[in-house]
Symmetry: C2
């Protein structure tokens, strides 16, 4: 099937050559708001540490709610702690069109991940308000909480919060449950924020690519085809803690040595298998953790991502086999316990087309691509059609203070979000 026939079959052909709305976002205001948001949790390196449930998170959230009100949105916090900005539609019978992102960060992260999409969504609402542009659907600008450490906020909407998950400890020393209460939610009422299929007309998210593909190819807009799946494991190496001065090299059961070899093996397995999967050890803690003690236990993280869940499992099996072999070499054991799963999620085919046609009508170059990073859109994909828009990350840097996207790229992305939103609003999404 050629593309025109395919589009015709979806009733979408009109959008290929449609006339754009004349409305455009205020790029200077948008970039000014991004700069202002960067104050909250700023680090000496110029990035931010605004992990969910920190004081900086709380301050950033208060600022975002002010911006929502200035944009003509009715701002509130739902029981899951998400920030919700509502605007009426002209047809009271339609479910809301949702768009947004997140403003929490990884520890020592940058000023663009989540923040471009969040400030971009508020800017789109502000533009609609400034220009008196009405939509058929009610609008919900959503800033999901704790995206970076488990997509807690969006997974509350999709009903995916597991038993015991609220007791996990976040990057602050609060549990997730305590964190939700800290930011104004009510962990006892998570069920009430849950949405069912049909409750949301569609969800759109603007985000930085976080990879180098768009930047290297000088492309303006990534049309996201889907989001890779992720599995994470807690890896525990158990050896025997002993005095570093009195235990000869050949009598050690050194958990750190096994852990070091494990890190090397993860890399070897991932680079030797063909494909676009990635495997990462991002965290490692040795116990007791003193220079003069052979570690008896080391805990580390393993994360594997791919577009196919089967591929994740094949990479993992190869890692686990190597791990068992290398642990036995110095009389230690290794246990790998999966604690996190995020299924690969394709975006909606109609919304991909709308993103692409909006960008092209704005004179922007597009590339269809998967997302290597997880996003809140993944949770909402269980309930509603989702679409995602990527803008370039300079040098592909992300989750780092050096993360950067150009102001004009941010403005372009917000305009694609605006046009896609208006086109989606015009579409019959019930089918």
């Amino acid at each position: 099937m050629v593309r025109r026939e395919f589009l015709a079959s979806l009733g979408l052909l009109a959008f290929q050559t449609r006339t754009l709305s004349e409305v455009r976002v205020d790029g200077r205001r948008l970039n000014r708001h991004l700069g202002a948001l960067a104050r909250f949790g700023r680090t000496p390196e110029g990035g931010i540490s605004r992990v969910a449930y920190s004081d900086a998170d709380l301050e950033g959230r208060a600022f975002a709610m002010e911006l929502m009100r200035a944009a003509g949105l009715e701002a509130s916090i739902d029981h899951a702690g998400n920030i919700l900005g509502r605007r009426h539609g002209t047809d009271a019978n339609l479910p809301p069109l949702m768009f947004g992102s997140h403003i929490d960060s990884v520890p020592h992260g940058g000023n663009y991940d989540g923040q471009v999409g969040s400030m971009g969504a508020i800017e789109v609402a502000h533009t609609l308000s400034d220009t008196g542009t009405a939509t058929r659907h009610p609008l919900e600008v959503m800033l999901f909480q704790n995206e970076e450490n488990g997509k807690t906020g969006s997974r509350a909407l999709s009903g995916e919060i597991r038993d015991g998950e609220l007791d996990l400890v976040s990057h602050t020393d609060k549990t997730i449950g305590e964190g939700i209460a800290f930011i104004g939610g009510d962990p006892a009422k998570l069920d009430e924020v849950r949405r069912e299929p049909g409750d949301i007309a569609a969800y759109l998210e603007l985000h930085i690519e976080q990879g180098a593909i768009l930047d290297q190819k000088s492309i303006d807009i990534g049309v996201v085809e889907g989001i890779v799946g992720i599995k994470r494991w807690n890896v525990t190496v158990t050896g025997f803690a002993n005095h570093a001065g009195t235990t000869p090299m050949d009598q050690r059961h050194d958990a750190m040595l096994t852990a070091g070899r494990f890190v090397d093996a993860v890399n070897a397995v991932a680079t030797e298998m063909s494909g676009r999967h990635v495997a990462t050890v991002g965290k490692l803690e040795a116990h007791p953790g003193a220079p003069n003690v052979i570690p008896g236990r080391v805990e580390l993280s393993l994360e594997i991502r791919d577009l196919e869940m089967d591929k994740i499992d094949r990479v993992f099996e190869a890692v686990a086999e190597a791990a068992r072999e290398l642990a036995a070499r110095n009389g230690t054991t290794i246990a790998l316990e999966q604690y996190y799963l995020s299924r690969a999620a394709p975006t909606d085919m109609r919304l991909r087309e709308l993103v692409a046609s909006s960008a092209e009508a704005l004179g922007l170059k597009t590339l269809w691509m998967p997302s290597g990073a997880g996003h809140d859109a993944q949770s909402i994909a269980r309930l509603a059609p989702v679409g995602m828009i990527f803008i370039p990350s300079v040098d592909g840097v992300s989750h780092s203070p050096k993360e950067y996207s150009r102001p004009e790229a941010i403005e372009a992305g917000a305009n694609v979000l605006l046009q896609t939103l208006l086109a989606t609003d015009a579409l019959d999404l019930s089918g």
Copy 2:
């Protein structure tokens, strides 16, 4: 020179066959005190975390001072935070005979390291008091503070505290300087606790072996010939923090990967070179330390020990060469900064003989051996003749909750300390 001639040349032959004092320690009281001390900082695994300057340290110290007073000692805290128990001698012109150890522990350590020697020293003083045994020299029972994380207390006596050392952060979040004040010292007056050669007649220390040699060979007492030297380095791997989902394997500058390979290389170098040196990575911290971020920086510790300082340097050079090569393999850099040096220290030849003859006269089997662990005796060796007595560690376990020495071995060690002390008191040490 055969041994008798050698001893005769030292004027020590008499001690080979000397009559022991009839006095013996109260082994049940000693072991009861050890059990009572184990309450302070107890961990669920049955060991202790009584790191210097913790609340548990403070409580354990108060308990030790009570025991000193019960043993007839005049207990005080010096400006360095060491606990000092004094007893008069019959000759006011003689410098004090010092003996003791430490009661601080590594994180998640055991109940014997330092504690056997500390409670043993107090028990020896208690026995002298109970039996009305006078000594020519004044006695000083010394419990040095922060042995485990830098021998701060004993190095204050030898004047080895470096500029800036008081600003280093200890295992508690206090700096060393704050810690000294916390336990009752005065960091501004460290100079006043400094001793000069001649100020101390001799120093004796009873300690667990912390290795498996005595236990494996069923020997009662180790006559310590000297203490190995130690060097420690802070190792910093610098790569580039990036998103773990969007950065392909071949585009990573993963500091964790370099760190893992470094741990493996340290082990390979140390096991391939012949000798009794040991090399250990006990501590590792990845930054930012999240499962979904490729670490941009990893900090780890390197420690190398040997009886010869030159050998330590040769092992280090081989490690450093391997490190530079492996760091370059994935576009990272590695910096090794030495931050700690403890010179190898031989014990006094006369005191070795007195330890050996005391043990043999008590019917105990002895072995002459080096100490793989560092001890406060090392600092005092710069000022005075030192002697050390080892008792067996079951299975050689130390710096672990599973550390164990048998009650009868502890009693035997304390009796050797008592007899060695009395013999040393009789000796003319001015030569």
